[in-house]
């Protein structure tokens, strides 16, 4: 009964999901090792050696220097074969979603996606856009899974020092990584942002939008919009949060002047903390808000920014 955690590195930086995945391994129970592949993984392995793993494996070999699902899955499969792990887990990042099922195919292993918890030997995961939680049993000797990062708080160093060892890399020359084309924006992406400040019909005009953007920038947040604001042409369509736009679940969602139409709520109701600022106390947004403030956002936002600046 032991687990292999696949930590993730991109452009020589450990990705935060690695710590959530370690936490998931600890929540599952039993011993675990960590594997980290790619450029910079030696240093990365060093950074992960105090998290309670038996061994932290790494490889910077040419075959796995850059990520491809093909070479990584083969390399992980070889290690699983050698060490006899009964579970392999990785964060449900796009890399985890790409590679882990391929690994499952190679190992003939059952897979569970987006694990949010454990129930004895079984796994819990959301289905139907989060409207149902499934209990899943895996009936193969090895179980592979991706874990939803938001369901497990990042692990902290737990003392002790893991062994660090180099893994044997296996390449696959039918697939070649060419390059990254990552988005450069001063604001975080809607999908990835931990805070979103969203503008609704109540912001009225371009000046109102500017206020919302100023608050977002102060908080390092992404800007979102209700359908009404997009329809008015005040913000671009790709910022629309809602049933027909983006579905988001940040740690903090601040709805400014948003009435809370069902279509909008459908896109943000899974946010951890929802704040609604609206001058209409009957607005349905208050029914989903953790904290509601009945106020004109145009007055509330500057005051809000002042108070936040005072703390920081």
């Amino acid at each position: 009964m032991s687990t292999l955690v696949i930590a993730e590195i991109r452009q020589s930086e450990l990705r935060a999901s690695s710590y959530n995945t370690i936490a998931a391994a600890k929540a599952k129970g039993g011993d675990f090792d960590i594997l980290l592949l790619g450029k910079g993984s030696a240093a990365g392995a060093d950074a992960l050696k105090e998290f309670g793993a038996g061994t932290v494996y790494y490889s910077e070999a040419d075959a796995v220097a850059e990520y491809t699902a093909e070479s990584y899955a083969k390399t992980v499969a070889a290690l699983v074969g050698e060490k006899g792990y009964t579970a392999v887990m990785m964060g449900a990042t796009t890399t985890g979603k790409d590679m882990i099922p391929r690994l499952g195919g190679l190992l003939g292993a059952g897979m569970v996606s987006d694990v949010i918890g454990f129930d004895g030997a079984n796994y819990l995961r959301p289905m139907f856009a989060g409207n149902a939680i499934a209990t899943v049993e895996v009936n193969t000797p090895v179980a592979v899974m991706t874990v939803r990062e938001t369901a497990f708080d990042a692990a902290a160093p737990s003392g002790g020092v893991s062994a660090v060892a180099e893994a044997t890399a296996v390449g696959d020359d039918r697939a070649k990584f060419i390059e990254y084309r990552l988005t450069e924006s001063s604001r975080p992406d809607l999908g990835a942002a931990s805070i979103i400040v969203s503008a609704g019909r109540g912001v009225k005009d371009a000046d109102g939008v500017k206020q919302v953007e100023a608050l977002a920038d102060l908080l390092g947040a992404a800007v979102g919009a209700s359908r009404a604001v997009v329809d008015e042409g005040l913000l671009p369509n790709d910022l629309q949060v809602g049933q027909t736009g983006k579905i988001v679940a940040p740690d903090l969602y601040i709805a400014c002047g948003i009435s809370g139409a069902i279509q909008h709520v459908a896109g943000m109701k899974d946010s951890k903390v929802i704040v609604a600022i609206n001058k209409d106390e009957e607005a349905p947004i208050f029914e989903v808000a953790d904290y509601g403030l009945v106020a004109d956002f145009a007055k509330a936002i500057p005051e809000f920014m002042e108070k936040v600046k005072a703390i920081k």
Binding site: R201, E282, E287
Partner: protein, 380 residues
């Protein structure tokens, strides 16, 4: 009896529903507000075959049945009644008489651009003095050499503004009364034709309702539709089919209102529970759903009878009468479920309520439908 949809009808419904949700719904409120129809929709619908559903492929139609046509009008209307009537008036009131009464040359010339959505069509029947009393026409047409010369005016013409082709009813022999009316195909670029004022309406605001003016309007002799004197018959036959389109429109509006009310009743919480948990609301929803289902059965049956080549005038009148009443009730109750939010334009039910009323009026008022129905009961 088979009450279900065929595979094809189901696919038609799915594609129309998707198109309505993705292409029409997002702009429906704005089109209503600006009272301007987005003409690119006509082009898109033409490409998909929506502008010529029930016509043979040889004329550029989709070769489907009238039930498919009703389904498309219903689905479009469930998000935007204006779009529903643009398709319905075009298809039932203009393409239908040309297809049914036109010569092979007329069909070859006019149907392809109409059925592909390149051109919109309308029917010029109603006049200031000829509403429900459709035979009381004042517009005249007289033969002058190789041309018909038309004089007069038509009002409340759906699609009148943007139409490229109008089927126009005019008096050719006054002394013969209703048997002295004839139908004509009038391209709207004909000399002497112009569009008069656009009406400002309570509902279906995005669709054009315009006045058509004929001042020595000249069209070729061969543009007579059917025989000289067939005009009233053509008009009545056309309206029989048109009623199915309006019944489908009313049905769609009603369904759209119910969909909105059901969704809202599940989300909106008052006194600590969702509206849907209150019996007062449950009953409203149940009654509307039942009426809508009955209206759908009547509408689909009338379409099925038309497809089967049966006489369907009475049944299409019943469908339109009942669907229009259901539409009024469903949209009224939907606003009641929404309460204050239903009365403002944030939700579509306010628009649905305004759009509903016309279905009791145009292409034969509810009173005229009752005349048609009762006549079938009492005439010998």
């Amino acid at each position: 009896m088979d009450f279900g949809l065929t595979d094809i009808q189901r696919m038609v419904r799915d594609t129309a529903r998707k198109f309505a949700a993705e292409e029409v719904a997002p702009i429906a409120a704005a089109m209503d507000k600006s009272a301007k129809f987005e003409m690119s929709l006509v082009k898109k619908m033409g490409e998909l075959g929506f502008m010529g559903v029930a016509y043979p492929e040889e004329y550029g139609g989709a070769g489907m049945d009238y039930k498919c046509y009703a389904i498309i009008v219903e689905e479009l209307s469930s998000v935007c009644a204006s779009t529903g009537v643009v398709v319905s008036a075009h298809s039932s009131l203009c393409c239908d008489p040309i297809y049914k009464f036109g010569t092979e040359e007329q069909k070859k010339k006019y149907l392809p651009p109409l059925l592909s959505g390149e051109m919109l069509g309308c029917l010029g029947l109603t006049e200031p003095g000829a509403g429900s009393d459709a035979a009381n026409q004042k517009t005249t047409a007289r033969l002058d050499g190789d041309e018909w010369v038309i004089n007069g005016s038509k009002i409340f013409i759906t699609n009148g503004g943007p139409a490229g082709v109008a089927v126009v009813i005019a008096v050719t022999e006054k002394e013969k009364g209703s048997r002295g009316l004839s139908a004509f195909i009038v391209p709207t670029d004909s000399p002497g034709f112009r569009v008069g004022k656009e009406e400002h309406k309570l509902g279906i605001r995005a669709s054009s309702t315009a006045e058509l003016l004929f001042e020595d309007c000249r069209i070729p002799k061969e543009n007579l539709l059917g025989k000289d004197g067939d005009g009233f018959k053509i008009a009545l036959t056309t309206l029989d089919g048109g009623r199915i389109g309006i019944a489908a429109q009313a049905l769609g509006i009603a369904q759209g209102a119910l969909n909105a009310a059901v969704a809202y009743s599940k989300e909106r919480v008052q006194f600590g529970k969702p509206l849907a948990a209150f019996q007062a609301i449950q009953w409203k929803l149940a009654e509307c759903a039942t009426d809508i289902d009955a209206a759908r059965l009547l509408t689909y049956r009338a379409a099925w009878m038309k497809d089967a080549g049966m006489r369907f005038g009475t049944q299409s009148a019943m469908a339109k009468l009942f669907a229009a009443e259901t539409c009024m009730k469903a949209t009224r109750e939907a606003i009641q479920v929404f309460g204050g939010y239903g009365y403002v334009d944030e939700y579509p039910v306010e628009r649905f309520y305004r759009d509903a009323k016309i279905t009791e009026i145009y292409e034969g008022t509810s009173e005229v439908q009752k005349i048609v129905i009762s006549r079938s009961l009492t005439s010998d």
